[in-house]
Symmetry: none
Subunit: 270 residues, 2 copies
């Protein structure tokens, strides 16, 4: 029987590890990914600590991100998945890692005080695979082993994903979380999708952030922030737009509207 | 909100580890199980090797199976799941472990030359959970880390289960395999886990429609509909807001913003 081939669209799915502490976890993650047909790894500002195996861990320098190279310990744990590590992108900020993505899923524990809707991997995977199939870039974002993702990191993503388990005891380390997520993704690859949701022309992370910045400027110009908490309001607006699966046309309408309003107010200021 | 409880029938599901070599894997398996609500661990003839952590690993004696106790290394890796280890059954043969089960699933790699039909965890889990719900004992059987299950061990089981992945590279160790299987089982258990999500004060259909009508008036007033298709734009805006799971606070912010803008433009019209 002909050996099955992995579908090419899996290349559109990135695993992003932010501020990882242990070199071994990066290697284990690479192996977990490749085992489930995923190859795109992005490391955001790795914060590697010294371990018995690393004489001196390489320090990530935000000004010189390309100077960073992973310690041998990562490659040892990666085993036959060293190619994933060799091709991994290393960037300074999560925003860079997410720039071209339309869907970005922050892996979070259920204990966080978050108001955005949380989805299980089972629920979210179909939309991730559909988006990837249409050529969109999607990402799953994992935080530091001890602290997870910061609130700011979570806010940069437009989906929340949580792995459900025992409400009385939940102990899943980073490598296992990556393994479970990758397993879930691959498990749905063979499933034929009967109908595609409306995923055409989703706006990217970067486009949404630009539009929200434009709105912020307009609100400021209009004096809307007087006696209001600007940062808090903008966080709410960002979260709202992130939930809305904006298309590029929605962005165009909104920005056209902001320009019209600005012009109107400008005329008044003359 | 009341914390959900794990369904009692999960006690009818056993994880069986046969001839395990590494004490650490037993501890990791216990943690993986408990994280997904499973508590019944059975060890068949553990064949523990010496590791840097174990001075002298306990030797399992088939004639005196009850004399065996797990090394401390297993308990250290088990962390908060030590109770699973403490209550684990230790037996001499797989036949003993399977004696009361109706369904027994041998975890096997796809590379084995086996003629029996193989199922994925996704496919097999519903029948396992249904059997457990009716009081039947079911088991998932994992073999030695290096060699897997022997042909004889596989033949004692009445189901074959395989985790699918990359046909070119598949590297899942024992602890990860246990984690993935337990994750799959739990993912299909009907436990509502929403209790920790904040109740969002979602806006009603009526509130959203009123807000959109307010926006429409503002857009009209600002001249935004000149040379644009007003109805089409407003349908897009309505659909966008409908996707956004708006809270009542989002509505308040938006309407406050519309009022501020209206006032600014009004001043200009004077």
């Amino acid at each position: 029987m002909k050996k099955p081939e992995l579908p090419a669209y899996l290349h559109n799915i990135s695993i992003i590890l932010s501020r990882t502490s242990h070199p071994a976890n990066i290697g284990s993650a690479a192996r977990a990914m490749k085992t489930m047909g995923l190859t795109k790894l992005i490391l955001v500002a790795p914060n590697l600590m010294q371990t018995p195996m690393t004489a001196e861990p390489p320090k990530f320098n935000k000004q010189q991100p390309n100077d960073f190279s992973l310690p041998e310990e990562s490659f040892i744990l990666a085993s036959g998945a060293r190619d994933v590590l060799e091709e991994a992108k290393i960037v300074s900020t999560l925003a860079e890692a997410l720039a071209n993505t339309t869907l970005s899923c922050a892996l979070t524990s259920r204990r966080r005080e978050l108001t955005a809707p949380m989805h299980t991997p089972r629920e979210l995977t179909p939309s991730l695979l559909q988006a990837a199939q249409t050529g969109q870039k999607v990402a799953l974002v994992f935080g530091n082993e001890t602290f997870g993702l910061s609130i700011e990191e979570v806010q940069q993503c437009n989906r929340l994903i949580t792995i459900n388990g025992n409400p009385d005891y939940f102990s899943l380390n980073l490598a296992q979380a990556v393994q479970v997520i990758c397993y879930e993704l691959f498990s749905q690859v063979d499933v034929s999708m009967d109908h595609l949701q409306q995923v055409a022309n989703l706006a990217t992370h970067q486009q949404i952030r630009s539009m929200v910045f434009h709105l912020r400027q307009l609100m400021d110009y209009a004096g809307f922030f007087n006696r209001r908490n600007e940062n808090r309001l903008m966080r709410r607006m960002t979260a709202m737009f992130d939930r809305a699966s904006l298309s590029t046309e929605d962005i165009d309408i909104l920005r056209g509207f902001y320009n019209t309003i600005s012009q109107q107010i400008h005329n008044q200021h003359d």
